[in-house]
């Protein structure tokens, strides 16, 4: 029920496997908050009314004698402990330690920059080509991919267009060229800072395709987006990436297209 309320308030529909558990915890913690707040407020309003000066001219030196508040505090501690030990810590462990094996996942590098997301697919060989910041050219080679590296031959890169197959775990190695950005897809309940000098892996499993989501939300314009969550400069507010979740077949087709595009054009390294 709480989850329905939260969705009504604005919580976007969930679209990843672990996101369901995040929402359960979200609902749980908001229940705790609501109960506490309503309890406090009920008591508060009653007390303000009951013990106003005109009604109660003589204050009582002792005040409350019951131990009810202690029980409440203990209850709060227990609830917090449940949320912490039951949900939060195990969930984090799963996030950062239980990575799916690379062979069963879509593995991608994402390199953030002011103000774009560079997406890097390893191509059919599954190996990312060598990159070198010295080779970066924003028009032709924004990732600084070393074209002489055999592993780089079939690599596919693009800016801001992230395509992922549905129901298959995704591992993203996240880094940044310049300042700290933060990679977040609200519907996936995922967020991670992209920090220069570090490569942080995250993983999730998208469970709803873009098309399904369009039907579900009754909105043809529905669009998954990467939202930058960390102030990264004057263009921070529109550092959006576009995410398409699609069936494995559609994804493969798209990837082939992209690969073909990368192959046919630019026959001479000089012009790349």
């Amino acid at each position: 029920m709480m989850l329905e309320w939260l969705h009504k308030l604005g919580l976007p529909p969930v679209a990843s496997v672990h996101g369901v558990a995040v929402d359960v915890a979200q609902a749980g913690v908001h229940w705790l908050m609501l109960v506490l707040f309503v309890g406090w407020m009920g008591y508060f309003i009653f007390v303000l009314f009951r013990f106003r000066r005109s009604r109660n001219p003589q204050a009582n030196y002792q005040g409350v004698k019951s131990h009810f508040s202690t029980y409440v505090e203990v209850a709060v501690v227990v609830a917090e402990a449940v949320l912490l030990l039951g949900f939060s810590i195990p969930m984090w462990r799963q996030r950062v330690e239980a990575f799916p094996s690379a062979s069963q996942a879509t593995v991608i590098r994402i390199v953030a920059e002011q103000f774009a997301w560079n997406i890097h697919y390893p191509g059919p060989d599954g190996i990312f080509g060598r990159t070198d910041p010295k080779l970066i050219d924003l028009t032709s080679n924004p990732l600084g991919l070393d074209r002489n590296d055999p592993n780089a031959m079939d690599d596919i890169t693009n800016v801001n267009q992230l395509h992922l197959p549905v129901n298959k775990p995704v591992i993203i190695h996240l880094s940044s060229k310049d300042v700290i950005h933060s990679f977040g897809i609200p519907q996936m309940r995922i967020k991670q800072d992209a920090i220069p000098g570090m490569s942080v892996p995250i993983w999730f499993t998208p469970s709803v395709t873009s098309e399904e989501m369009k039907k579900k939300t009754n909105d043809d314009k529905f669009q998954y987006q990467i939202a930058c969550a960390q102030l990264c400069g004057l263009g921070h507010y529109r550092m959006a990436g576009y995410v398409t979740i699609e069936s494995q077949e559609a994804f493969d087709t798209w990837l082939d297209e992209q690969g073909a595009k990368a192959q046919t054009s630019g026959d001479d390294a000089f012009w790349l």
Partner: protein, 236 residues
């Protein structure tokens, strides 16, 4: 001393158009060699940009006209101008438009102290990140609702890049001149440098990818000479 310079330059402004008339150098720049199959710009990164173009525009590192005439070559007088002479900057602004998520023109020259107006025809946010070395760098955002903004470069400076960080592919090349004898070739590859005093000049032609070529030419009073440049891609 300083006064003298100012006086002299004032004199120059008045005198040049009157007396030292109209020698001119013009010519054509062509590209020679195998024309590479260039990639179109991938503007999917910002759907609003992609929507501007029916077909994706080509990258601008090599813009050719009929007969492989080469556009976007910056042709200027490199040396030979009278020593110590200074040239006043025109009041009229150079205008750069941000249109279809591209800079128009792609290569431009401006005189030190001359205003540069950046227009935003796109109605989406761009930022103008100028990366000169001698002049002060600036990084100015232009939200969609801001239609134009005026900037100025104070010192003469060789070629530097101006780019948009919101749209990584967007780049323009600029050069700040201390004299008015320069032109950027159009798609026909044609340039004309007019109103030169008689003398021997070294003319420089620069292309962002193909480098610099220089050539000497002597013009007499009211004489017009032709000077052509041919750029070739380096062999592997």
């Amino acid at each position: 001393m300083k006064k003298n310079v100012i006086l002299l330059s004032l004199l120059g402004i008045i005198v040049i158009p009157g007396i030292a008339l109209a020698a001119s150098i013009s010519g054509k720049v062509v590209f020679n060699g195998k024309v590479p199959g260039l990639k179109p710009l991938d503007m999917n990164a910002d759907p609003m940009c992609a929507a501007h173009h029916k077909t994706p525009p080509m990258v601008e590192i090599l813009v050719l006209g009929d007969g492989n005439s080469l556009a976007n070559v910056f042709v200027s007088v490199a040396s030979g101008l009278p020593q110590g002479k200074t040239y006043a900057a025109p009041k009229q602004a150079v205008t750069i438009d941000q249109n279809g998520c591209m800079y128009i023109p792609h290569v431009f020259g401006v005189m030190a102290g001359q205003p540069v107006v950046f227009k935003n025809s796109d109605g989406i946010m761009h930022n103008i990140h100028a990366l000169p070395e001698k002049n002060r760098q600036f990084n100015a955002a232009m939200p969609g609702t801001l239609k134009e903004t005026s900037k100025m470069f104070d010192k003469a400076e060789s070629y530097f890049k101006i780019k948009c960080d919101v749209h990584p592919w967007m780049g323009a090349w600029a050069r700040v001149m201390d004299h008015p004898y320069f032109q950027v070739t159009d798609k026909k590859g044609i340039f004309t440098i007019a109103d030169l005093p008689a003398g021997t000049y070294e003319i420089e032609a620069w292309h962002e990818k193909l480098g610099v070529q220089k050539s000497k030419v002597t013009v007499g009073d009211k004489e017009s000479k032709t000077l052509n440049f041919t750029f070739t891609a380096p062999s592997k």
